[in-house]
């Protein structure tokens, strides 16, 4: 099943390091603003709405 990783911005360096350690240095993922754990339902919806275009682009959805 096609999947896309979603990380928050402070984890960019770690995400890239993990991708390198798995042999995928150019691995594409979606990065969103931090934090997530302390958001309300409405704020979570906003985050999802904002990240969707990037997610669909990586999936190759026109």
């Amino acid at each position: 099943m096609p999947a896309v990783s979603i990380c928050t911005d402070p984890f960019t360096l770690t995400t890239q390091a993990m991708a390198r350690s798995y042999g995928f240095p150019g691995f594409e993922y979606v990065s969103i603003p931090h934090p997530v754990a302390s958001l309300s339902v409405a704020q979570i919806r906003d985050r999802v709405r904002d990240l969707l275009p990037g997610l669909l682009r990586i999936l190759g959805v026109e």
Binding site: F11, L13, T14, A17, M18, S21, Y22, L39, S40, V41, I44
Partner: protein
Amino acid sequence: MLAEAAQIRRAMEYYDAQGWTDGLPVVPVTESYLAGFLAQTGRDPGDVLLALPHLNRELTVRLAAINAALAGCKPEYFPVVVAAWESLAREGYPSRAIWQSTTGTAPFLIVHGPVRERIGVNSKGNVFGSGFRANATIGRAIRLGVINAFGLRPHELDQATQGTPAKYTACIGENQEESPWPPMHTEFGLAASDSAVTALTIRSSMHIEARHTMVPEQLATDIAGTIARTGSLVHETISAALVLSPEHARLFAGAGWSKADVRRFMFDHAVRTPAELAAAGKDALSSRTRWRLPADHPDALPGSAAVGDQVRMLNSPDAVLVVVAGAANAGVSAIVETFGPRGTAPPPVTKVQDWSPR
């Protein structure tokens, strides 16, 4: 001598430039020096001591020896370093990626038995502090292995938000000689004549000052209050290693308390009211992770909000480990906040293997 000193400095700078240090200078390692470490163990240099499958990386005996040498260990410390890695593998948290967590844990080692005397592991005054090569370098050998064998460097794969000073080194000896109870490793199936290492994943070490009470219930209540602080709650319950000074241990033992009695008291008295948990935003549980969060959080499991008079912060008396360490000079002890065991498995007390130098 001046030329030699310059060569040593160049080697130290080289190691630093490669990123092979914890920020402090390391000891240059040659194959002949390494051989002295490998001769101290019956394990094959290629044996894997710890694997982190999610990183596709392994720490072999040879890599453990290189990092022990870099850390400043003497070769005769190496069997303790090997047992520490074996204990970490048994403990289980490292292979579940805890060393990459934002929590920022450190491995904490407790050394038991005659090897303490043989190699000079401090178990008395300043036991968490500096000044003892075996404590300082055995703990550091683990840290350097984490950095160099697994590549867990800060700002990269190590995502610790703040970390802990214990990430430089955290290794103490059990003060068996001034403990009123049998040595800890004999509680878990080893003989008093054995040596052992217990490795625990820890978050912090908290100081307890209780110098004037002579009543075991007062001392135990003071300690239980420290265990039950809300700030340590990430999961539903917590676990701890209670490192008692000889003075505090003797107060308990003199009143007829066993270690099991101390653990039971902690289980019954490390509690919070639902209102206290709600005030700290930790009264409910996540529907997915069962982490603590506020009852009005979108991820709160319906019906998980704490009810009743009291909520236990420990899931079992065995979620508290009791060990004696430090000087017999004051009513000072410590709670080491651990990530396990939580009463579901015994601590990974691991025998230091006897060896015959090859």
